[in-house]
Amino acid sequence: MHRDLFHITPSGRAGLIFALFAFLVIPSVSGSQWLSIFTSTGCFTLAAAGVAFLYARLGMVSLTQVGLMGVGGWVMLRLNHAYNLPFEINFIAAGLITMVFGMILALPALRLRGLYLALVTLMAAGGFEIVFSTFQFPNGGDGFWGVKSSFSAEFRRPWLAQSDEGFLRYTIVIATLGFLLIELHRRLAPGRAWALIRRSEAAAMSAGINVTLYKTWAFAISGLVAGFAGALLAGSLGLLDGGTFRASESVMIFALAVVGGANYWLGAVLAAALFRIVPALLNNWGVDADLSFVIFGAGLLHAIITAPDGIAGQLMGLGAKIGKRAGSAFKAAPAEAGLSTSIDIKNITVRFGGVVALDDISAKFTKPVSGIIGPNGAGKTTLMNVISGFVPDENGAVQAAGQDLLALRAHQRGHWGLRRSFQKEEIADDLSVEDNVMAQLDGMHMPHHEKRADVARALEIAGMTDKAKLAGRSLNSFERRLVDVAKCLVGNPRIIMFDEPAGGLSSKETLMLGDLILSIHEHTGAKTLVIDHDVDLISRICEETLVLDFGERIAFGKTAKVLADPKVRAAYLGVEEG
């Protein structure tokens, strides 16, 4: 794990070499104008890295990034002109305060995603634009807003970087550190949590991941780098103007991050280059500013259409593929014995508007593997969602091992030992098999080596040990299912729920999966609930079964007996009563 943490990928190596080149060569060969252009580019690279990271890792779009830079720059200038503190302290304060703004932006992100989230952030950017254009940036004047009519008071640069050349180097170092900060997060627990959240928040939550925390965290990091970027920009010019931080610029930096390639460090560099170097070149070449709008817009459209992975994706090609490494085998730990819980569902009622989705359902599951069946729309998945905590019920209870699960929050249920799979398996494509499983444990408090052992054991039970290092995207559908099961086995599960686990599998694969599910209790002591249409599977592996129809309990008991019940045959198997 720690070896992985500091492992340098080919792409990363290229990035570090580029940063070194930029640090050593670019400042010494540039004239004043280009020093200023490259410093701007460095600032926007950092900001673009933040917005690209949110998009690539969490699938969330922030159209406020440049507005947040403005916040960082404002704080930087405010502190610089108000107190006689060194650059570094102001810089860190600017980053942290902007981080708080970023976290506030995460509030809507807890409830919104996709276009709506993008629009809320655009509204925030619109707000920032108005505030900046109205109050301007402090330039050494009096009062809170600190604006005076004459030219700006002195700006103190870092003592390491007084000259323009030094300041460009300083910017490059900070930008590189920003990238490393993001990459570090990506490789640790937050990275796995984000990958799961991006895939499915419900899956992440049922894996015990505190979705609120990790989403807020991601926005905080994005805000932090935006704040740093804004503060650096303030340091580059010594002052700022509202014109830099218009809402349309925030949209533009996001667009360019996509065009550059949000998944790659190079993408952020390209985005910033397109944002700052290209307009400067066009201007230098004397292209009419109106026409450079046209060229810029056309280039943007062209790149979005032709380069779905961004320009960086095209450039990097397949070179960044991580080499296969054989996973080290761990011995399976002995199963935890003696965990004998029953799942006691009491009076669960759920209404969606006027529709009763579940009507006073009660059942006490005592067997290691139990089933829930019913026709489409019977309320099976709703029941599972109630137990998981995604759907609130009216006043029922789900008792297990002396705990009312419904009294816990969704991610707390994960910690307690509730696991579930979804109808569609939830494997993050960009994580390895091992990390997909590891992500389930990130929210748990246990020593790292135990986590590793636990993951290895779960993969062994699922028969996926030899594929542990493969990326999620390289698995076939059956393997994805098996990993999905493995994810449910880690972290001392007490109750595991499978929602149509055999969907889309061949009969042979279904048989193997059935055997795997049957072995779970022996290995982990957990009780398993299985929802499926496949009556053969249910009757083979489940000792007892609950039958639902239109939200009502039709039958409950030994599987064979239940399946023979005429009411069940009428409702579910389509056989008329009588």
């Binding site: 004239g31 104008q33 200023s36 109205t134 004459s150 030219f151 580059s236 103007d241």
Partner: protein, 417 residues
């Protein structure tokens, strides 16, 4: 395809047709008639030209004049290499442009600058690098309240004052509502002296600020009306001022108020754009001599433009101002020791020593002085929009405000009063 330029050129040539001297040779610099061939002297200029506005007229005109000078012996036989940069209203580009001209190209001075943004961003750099900027199209406070920028145009503050003063003296205004931008170094800065002036003269004043991008000018107008004002001062670029006038026309407020404006509304397209409704009802202050005055400099400007500028380049106040800045600059260089014209420090010193150039384009003398503020041009003309054109209703008059006390003190010390 630049449609506006064609119409502007047509209007321009029509209004100067009476001069009858369109083909006279322009007079430039040393007037030798021999092209300069020596080592070029680098001079810079920065304008803003991108949506939403074009301030390139001043550098266009300065370039035309420098080209004319280069064709007429240059500066002691050396041509001026005039390098123009566009800040595109982007503060970073503005800083980069200054870095390029001042640090990389080693310009001895900047001439003809026209921008909303550039001066605020670069005023510190200019001071640090000890370079003088003889700007021509300034609109913000930094331009007039810093050590190394001197502008030929007035900017909104004096022009507002001039308009309000005229309205108070001639039109009976007692309470002026100044509608301006909600930008500290533009709107509040230039509206406050008007309020002070009105209060000093026993009247009253107020300011109504609106955001540059705001679609709604009506609420600012309604706000102005609700203060009980009898005069509305539209301290805005022409486009927005016209929007205010349109909103007022909608309310049919024309006859209930006195309508005044600073220089931006002195644009030959304005009378046509606002239409018949406003005929005779709007009074505009002009910071340079109106086109119909036709003094020697005004005519020479037209000739320089005709001979050396593109027919597309606008012939407007900013072009006059750019031309004037360029003539003063050339005059200064020609008066210097020829060995010193490459030395930025010496050029800066010589520009700061300018004490009283005159022109028929400007009411008062042009001077610089070694101060932290420069506003040589604080007298102007008052015009009335009438019959599709502008009628001069008051010739050169000086604006009366406490704001100019330090300037007047400098003028007295230079012996200009």
């Amino acid at each position: 395809m630049k449609l506006r330029y064609l119409t502007a050129a047509l209007i321009g040539s029509a209004s100067f047709a009476f001069a009858g001297q369109a083909f006279a040779a322009p007079s430039c610099g040393a007037n030798t008639g021999v092209a300069a061939t020596g080592e070029p002297i680098v001079v810079g200029g920065i304008h803003g030209n991108a949506p939403p506005g074009d301030f390139s007229a001043s550098t266009d005109a300065a370039k035309a004049y420098f080209d004319c000078v280069n064709a007429n012996g240059g500066i002691n036989g050396r041509p001026i290499d005039y390098q123009i940069e566009n800040d595109q209203w982007n503060p970073e580009l503005a800083a980069q442009a200054a870095a390029k001209l001042v640090k990389d190209a080693g310009a001895v001075a900047l001439v003809g600058n026209g921008s909303f943004i550039e001066m605020a961003v670069n005023a510190g750099t200019y001071k640090e690098e000890n370079i003088m900027v003889m700007a021509s199209a300034c609109a913000i406070s930094e331009c007039f309240e810093s050590s190394n920028i001197v502008s030929t145009n007035q900017g909104p503050l004096p022009s507002n004052l001039g308009a309000a003063q005229y309205a108070q003296e001639e039109l009976g205004s007692t309470n002026v509502a100044c509608i301006g931008f909600n930008i500290p170094n533009n709107g509040p800065w230039s509206c406050q002296p008007v309020i002070d002036l009105m209060k000093a003269r026993g009247g009253d004043g107020s300011m109504q600020l609106l955001n540059p991008g705001a679609p709604d000018v009506n609420s600012a107008l309604l706000e102005a009306i609700s203060t009980g004002a009898d005069t509305i001062l539209m301290n805005l670029p022409a486009g927005l001022a016209i929007a205010v006038l349109k909103a007022a026309e909608e309310q049919d407020l024309r006859d209930d108020y006195i309508w005044i404006a600073p220089t931006p509304l002195y644009d030959l397209s304005v009378p046509g754009a606002i239409g018949e409704y406003w005929n005779g009802k709007i009074f505009v202050n002009a910071e340079l001599a109106p086109f119909q005055m036709g003094g020697p400099d005004a005519l020479n400007w037209v000739e320089v433009m005709d001979a050396y500028a593109s027919p597309d380049d606008p012939r407007d106040t900013f072009a006059q101002s750019g031309y004037l800045s360029a003539t003063y600059f050339v005059k200064t260089l020609l008066e210097m020791d020829p060995a010193d014209v490459d030395d930025r420090a010496k050029v800066t010193e010589a520009i700061k020593a300018i004490a009283g150039y005159t022109s028929d384009l400007m009411c008062g003398p042009y001077y610089v002085g070694d101060t932290d503020f420069h506003m040589p041009n604080h007298a102007g003309f008052m015009l009335q929009i009438l019959d599709g054109g502008f009628k001069i209703v008051r010739d050169c008059y000086e604006f009366d405000s406490a704001y100019f006390e330090p300037h007047i003190a400098v003028e007295q010390s230079l012996g200009l009063r």
